[in-house]
């Protein structure tokens, strides 16, 4: 297990109440496991779980992606985009 910085934006930040938290994940993991783990830690996110995305190291991730997490890996919870 490794402690990873998870960032929350937009509605995710409003629901969680924080911009940033450290969460433990398995070092070798995948998109679905990351998602599940975040939702277990922050059930308030259930409100947007169907529409939220994850970004790993500032790249949008997709279901099925596998990851090897390291100390500086950044995970971000990305709600639906509404820029512009």
């Amino acid at each position: 297990m490794i402690s990873i910085k998870v960032l929350f934006f937009g509605e995710a930040c409003q629901l969680v109440g924080k911009r940033e938290e450290a969460i433990d994940f398995p070092e070798e993991t995948d998109y679905e496991e990351i998602r599940k783990t975040i939702l277990e830690n922050y059930p308030a996110l259930q409100k947007i779980e169907k529409v939220m995305m994850l970004a790993v190291d500032q790249e949008y991730a997709n279901p099925g992606d596998r990851f090897e997490l390291v100390r500086f890996t950044e995970i971000a919870v990305i709600p639906p985009l509404s820029g512009g």
């Binding site: 960032l7 934006f9 937009g10 509605e11 930040c13 409003q14 529409v51 970004a55 500032q58 949008y60 971000a76 990305i78 709600p79 639906p80 985009l81 509404s82 820029g83 512009g84």
Partner: protein
């Protein structure tokens, strides 16, 4: 500003340096909580070789879906947004090689009704390119930039709403 040196394009150092320099000089990306102005953005992309500047100005409206908007604000994953917007500029240049300069300015935090939320300008020798490049730019920003709009309404009863470009485009 950082470069991902693992990208294959860095096999050709000279081209990479030219590309990098171009990005620094000709792609102007700004995320700011200060008021943004069309005149400033237009000036940034002007160039003696360019006869055309096309500008898109996204302004905060006073209503949405029949409700009066009292407040509007933007949250943003800044570092990732810069990265995505630089990528958008590269994509624009690949599709429209005669684009000279690009400027993408986006407000963060609270934006008053009537103020600009986003201003995008591109310049090119002739009009077709600038018009198409600017349009593509705002389309790509709405599709890929990690920026999030929160609207609050005047009628006190309803909570603020986090907007979704995908949802809006379905209407």
């Amino acid at each position: 500003t950082f470069i991902d040196v693992s990208e294959s394009k860095f096999d050709d150092k000279n081209k990479s340096i030219v590309n990098f320099r171009q990005q620094i000089l000709d792609d102007h990306i700004k995320l700011t909580d200060e008021v943004i102005d069309v005149k400033v953005v237009d000036q940034l992309v002007s160039h003696p070789s360019c006869g055309a500047i096309s500008t898109f100005n996204g302004v905060t409206r006073d209503n949405h879906g029949g409700r009066d908007v009292s407040n509007l604000s933007y949250d943003c994953h800044d570092l990732m947004a810069y990265k995505k917007l630089r990528g958008i500029c590269a994509e624009i240049r690949a599709e429209y090689p005669d684009v000279k300069k690009i400027a993408i300015f986006h407000r963060l935090g609270k934006v008053d009704i009537g103020e600009s939320s986003v201003i995008i300008s591109t310049s090119s020798p002739h009009r077709k390119t600038a018009i198409q490049a600017t349009e593509k730019c705002i389309d790509l920003l709405k599709e890929h930039a990690p920026i999030f709009k929160y609207e609050e309404y005047s009628n006190g009863e309803v909570d603020g709403v986090w907007k979704s470009n995908i949802e809006d485009s379905k209407q």
